[in-house]
Amino acid sequence: MDVKMHGGNVIMNTATMAYRNLLKTVHNPDNFMDVVIQPVLFMLMFGYLFGGAIAGGVQAYLPTIVPGILIQTMLSAGSGSGAQIREDLDSGVFDRFKSLPMAHIAPLAGQLFADSLRLLIATITSLTTGYLMGWRPAVGFGWVVAIGLLAIFTGWALSWIFALLGLLAKSAGAVQSASLMTMLVLSFMSNAFVPLHSLTKPLQFVAHLNPVTYVITAIRQILATGSWTHEALLVVVFDVAVVAVFAPLAVWAYDRN
């Protein structure tokens, strides 16, 4: 055998797998729908449809809707990884990956890394659309970057949950519909689009249980005060906890496959 083998290197393998996932996305522009077209469409639709009714005007509604759509986009982009993983597992390609002398966690890790790039694109698209519609955060650009990173980290943490779902589910279709429903319930049963006090008591209760509410509140607070609030810290702790619980579970489910 005159081909040099460097053996499996976890980081290199993961990087290659992430590159593969990005290539797939680039070749399949459909995969950009949820991170590019969806935030633009939702921002425009919700902004111009509900702005007047909810906040008395589009401009007044933007500080509410921009973080709302941002997090909704994170949720849907993150939920895509579950279906993607299931699809991969069901294809012959995965057999090949498993039969290679590579770090066996690389396909999963590569997927999650590629996802963070999708999340970054989604964040930039959401915030830019908001800006073009007239959204002008009072705080500096640094804080906008900060909330962007907070959103990406949250989306990334959640994608581990969806990854687990994908690994446990029977088919990509099942993951897709389960993810879509979770995404819709989580984003609408929160303060993403409407002020909490406008909701009925039972709905308010549900919204208060919904972690999405806290993430959006934290982002709005940062954008309003220009300081790292207590809520923002709480969100970071929550995200870390989600990763700490769901990453090992996903790895376990992945090994089981």
Binding site: M1, H6, S99
Partner: protein
């Protein structure tokens, strides 16, 4: 080196729920040979192959690849073989070149080596012209070629092919066979599963016939054919009313069972010399026959004889 078997499979067993899919299978594959796992659909060929290639955990038994246990030394064992799965195990969404690059990198090749190997393989498998096209536009044959090319990135001396020609047209199948023969010529050991008897006959040095998860027979294609017995005589009786008379006549001359399908009769001859008296007595009895054929035994007969299929 030649003392070590390329593969040693011993007492391999796999259950899916209550159903035993692979039932205590054992066989050895010598270096440099083509070993065929032949069997009907659902016989357990692919499951056996998946256990051999570490994709599936066995419930019992073990597999050694060049002397290395696939469970205890999984990574080492995996570095010694290439696998081409039953369903094209390449990425549909990316190009042939990208597939080869990515799998080269995952196999541990440096970027430089990966690039070089990719170019080599694209040329070797006549894929240069479509190297950068999306795989969606590939024909079945091109896909298989790419698939095989990917398995050969590290120039493994052991290659697993799971139904390498299923779904290919005759021309592409012949090309695939030529490629496989070329690999063997270069010193590779090939283990393949197939449900095509002619494929096994054409390629395999040794065969294991599998049915219901068990090895029902093992040997060279020639040995297996011999076991089924000699030449087979087939003919159609011209008039339906004479069929019984023809059967009685055959029974009196040949000790073997006569198969009857409508007016078509077939019987196995122990010796070719039995043929002339049969024809003579048929003529004497004024039984007109049609569509006469005399067949050398084929693996088809072995297959039909030994396997009962899924139900």
């Amino acid at each position: 080196m030649s003392a070590i078997n390329a593969i040693e499979v011993s007492h391999l067993t796999k259950k899916f729920g209550q159903k035993t899919v692979v039932d205590d299978i054992s066989f050895n594959v010598r270096q440099g040979e083509v070993f065929g796992l032949l069997g009907p659909n659902g016989a357990g060929k692919t499951t056996t192959l998946r256990m051999m290639t570490t994709l599936l955990k066995a419930d019992a038994g073990h597999v050694k690849i060049f002397g290395h246990d696939t469970v205890k030394e999984g990574r080492l064992a995996r570095s010694m073989f290439g696998l081409t799965g039953q369903y094209a195990s390449v990425d549909e969404d990316i190009s042939a070149r990208e597939n080869l690059m990515i799998f080269s990198r995952l196999n541990g090749l440096s970027r430089q080596d990966a690039k070089q190997r990719t170019t080599e393989l694209l040329t070797e498998f006549s894929l240069e012209n479509s190297a950068d096209k999306a795989l969606k536009n590939f024909s079945g044959g091109m896909r298989r070629r790419l698939d095989l090319a990917v398995s050969l990135i590290t120039r493994p001396t052991l290659i697993f092919l799971d139904e390498p020609t299923t779904g290919l047209d005759p021309r592409t199948r012949t090309q695939m066979w030529a490629t496989i023969r070329q690999l063997v010529k270069q010193g590779s050991t090939v283990i393949l599963t197939t449900q095509y008897l002619d494929e096994a006959d054409q390629l395999a040095d040794n065969l294991a016939i599998i049915d219901h998860g068990k090895v029902v027979k093992m040997g060279t294609p020639a040995e297996l054919k011999q076991q089924v017995g000699g030449t087979k005589l087939n003919f159609t009786v011209g008039q339906a009313t004479q069929v019984t008379a023809a059967v009685n006549l055959l029974t009196s001359q040949v000790p073997n069972t006569i198969q009857r399908t409508g007016q078509r009769l077939s019987v196995r001859l122990n010796q070719v010399t039995e043929l002339t008296p049969i024809l003579a007595s048929l003529k004497q009895a004024k039984i007109a026959i049609d569509h006469l054929s005399v067949q050398e035994p084929s693996l088809d007969d072995v297959f039909m004889d030994l396997t009962v299929g899924k139900n």
